[in-house]
Symmetry: D2
Subunit: 280 residues, 4 copies
């Protein structure tokens, strides 16, 4: 599996999010506590929004814990929206084009989980991708195919609906081929304005996902916390596992739920796949 | 484009083939003379046959000229059949899964050239690949898709016929989509016993390809040549460009030709694509 | 050898300097026209100043021409001071710690050239480095040892004097050991405020070095040039070879000269090594 | 720290040693049980002897667990003497020149442990290296400096004596600079004929080290064990931690001991550093 972190709020130097927390994503790359694998050393990636039309992406096949360029860039880049991902490959090669986050136009996408029986279902899934989007698939991960299915179903217009259809299609394809658990997922996607996080699995036992609680309240409780002092009131984090042990700072995202964050407002809405028949 | 070398004959330490010739493949990685590009620095790969059931493959994204592992392995591995390839990407990412040679069972495959308009035709080509072979595509090159088409059409049973059908399919697909030159190719494939080299292009102006002439004759002409003395009488080289300036050592493979080498015997036969209709 | 570029002026998106010019540094990585080697594919590095105390450095062992992270970062990072370097190794391994620019505190340092007979003189040069600075040597290049000699001699206080002493020491050490050409150099160094470029060689036949001419004049001559329109009046470039064929845009830095750029003012002063005896 | 394995005996396909054991070195790269660190993902290296004058070395900065070239080579290379090492950096950069084993002529050298306060003592240690050997130092690890000290003191003639002097020098240098634990080491070295393993630390609490017990006895006990059936009677393994849970197969090397293996005979002799004064 993998671990990821999504941040939106006041602009921070990236190292404040990636390296400084007690149980930071970099620490998790060697010692994840809640992941399916303790080590997430099969590459990493970060995506952030600056003053250009599209977000920047930096991805590498090295383990995050000792990557000097990641350390360096994190100390010199400032952004108010960050996606960060560390990878534990479930089989596909360790190469840059298989590192998250993936990008399409203004959209970023990252994932922890897997499409069950991917080798069996890959061809059917790829065939469903809009032929115009198909050449944009650069790597060989299940995640990138999943992203392109969501794009095919209208991710840029209505993300929850598009993801629901993509998951419905993946589940029906898998089940037709006898796959017991067609999908296991915690997905994050954003266009730089709105953030969407999804926690779901066909078996109803999804990988962990947490969101941060209200910064104002936390800051009152922990006036000495360095990171909290730098975060704006509307700042939000969604993470695979908590970045520290601060009591009250983290709340688990419930099973089969979509978290939507827009202008500092957070909403949790139920998430259910939409099967192809229903969507036809 | 790329440059490649195929050798069969008496077992040699690989460096004798890869580093010692005056205009070796390693020299060509920096200074190709006949290639579409002078520099072939986007990764490399070698494949060789030893005492295992399948050939070994070593591939890397580094330029060949300064790769220490290639230098090291070449000085310590001995083989009687070698495929070697240096890459100049025509667009697909520089990653190990995009480096030649590609392998399927006992078969190796490498290529210099391109499928024209690959982004446009890729989906149709991939759909034609046998669904059982489809999951074996690990990278994103035109070459690997071409290999899987040839496998689909029976490469393991009748290589020239399978390649003819694959090229026919690629050409008809490209032409249907308005691609002017659907294929430009010099392809090498082997199962460790027989070798097949193909020189062809839709426009009838193919990349360069040469085969070595009779070793016995050459050895008589150049009794001091170190490499010739180590090569057996039945040794053969097929290369993108000559490895040196020895008069009489190299003969150009004609346009639209397939070179077959089996038990030291060499045959040049005409090659023509077989269009899908004709093969149906 | 190598090629480098140093820029100071109005903040630019790095790609405007690195990719957009007709004969950009990225083009030079494959096709240098004035370098000792046409190909500069043994890694690269960039250094730039932002709002942190020290400059950022991004270095990689991949060839620059196909590096996706360099492309990505160049499109999203803006800076008013940039150092960029592409490497053609003269023997030391291709590894990140051997890529330029090197950094010490606020100082960056990059180099095109070599210390003659480096294997013979390295030990004596390293012994001369201030023992407190010695642990800061992370790689194995002549350039990094040269940088640490200059730091030892007071680079941070008086760069031209420190470099003169460093070169003097390198020359006297080399000559004592029978090295014909102890140094061949075009060096760039900066603390983010002042820039210093040096062109010198023991044999009096130094690698090429150019500086840009007055932007205001050029802009009047070429009102349609995109890069010139974005550059401030005080912008300056110092480069191993011109970035394009614009008549009047480039002036060669004379032999044995130091270029100093401070607050948009440019000064050319003679440069001569100071031998150890003279400095004692 | 790191983990390593040294094998001598009948020629084996390397994967039989590296991948097939229950708790193989590859498993240890993700899940070491006795190491200072559970993860050893900062590069790896293997060295083996074939029919050339010097051993071959293959080293890479990727984690061993997912490295396709290591998997590939291990399945196709056969040798009767293998050194294998997985690295967990204690600070020096992750680069090929810092990966073990190191080589000099016919000698290989690998290490698990550290030189205490290396930044403080490095300069003094490097100065002690024979100036003729000095240019052979290619990386920046404590291990490579240690190797060159041992070479300086005559490793090629009398390995135990040379290592004793090297350790004595490291300890006296460290103590003079106030380093509490100047050395922590389990070192392996061989010339392809004789093998030497050392377990020692200044604090008398050394990293784990084990040697295999008599193959004939073990084979009688475990007639179904695949690896044992392929190993000759004189085969020997020395490892950082046992490769499996076979009762009776492994014996701990005592503290302050040197294991010598020559022609299938194994000897354990006490090891004590020789301080510079004593050796003068």
């Amino acid at each position: 599996m993998c671990r990821w972190l999504a941040y939106s709020g006041s602009p921070l130097v990236l190292e404040q999010l990636l390296y400084e927390p007690e149980h930071s994503l970099i620490v998790q790359s060697l010692h994840s506590q809640l992941g399916a694998e303790e080590t997430n050393g099969d590459g990493f990636g970060i995506g952030w929004y600056g003053d250009q039309a599209t977000p920047a992406v930096f991805r590498s096949v090295e383990p995050a814990w000792n990557d000097r360029n990641l350390r360096e860039l994190s100390g010199h880049i400032t952004s108010g929206i960050l996606f960060a991902h560390i990878r534990a490959s479930t089989g596909s090669p360790v190469q840059q084009t298989n590192c998250h986050p993936f990008r399409h136009g203004r959209w970023l996408w990252m994932h922890n989980g897997f499409i069950g029986g991917f080798d069996q279902v890959k061809r059917d899934l790829v065939l469903e991708v809009d032929p115009l989007l198909y050449p944009g698939i650069e790597g060989t991960t299940d995640t990138e195919v999943f992203f392109h299915l969501a794009l095919t179903y209208g991710l840029e217009d209505d993300p929850p609906a598009a993801v629901a259809r993509a998951v419905g299609f993946i589940e029906s394809t898998g089940r037709r081929q006898g796959v017991a658990c067609p999908i296991q997922m915690t997905v994050a996607t954003t266009d730089g304005d709105s953030f969407y996080g999804f926690r779901y699995s066909s078996e109803g036992a999804s990988r962990s996902l947490f969101h941060s609680t209200d910064v104002t309240t936390l800051r009152a409780l922990y006036p000495d916390n360095a990171l909290l002092r730098k975060m704006s009131d509307d700042a939000r984090l969604v993470v695979s596992e908590p970045l520290g042990s601060l009591q009250g700072a983290w709340r688990e995202v419930p099973e089969s739920t979509c978290v939507v964050i827009r202008k500092g407002e957070e909403q949790l809405v139920p998430f259910a796949p939409v099967a192809p028949a229903a969507s036809a």
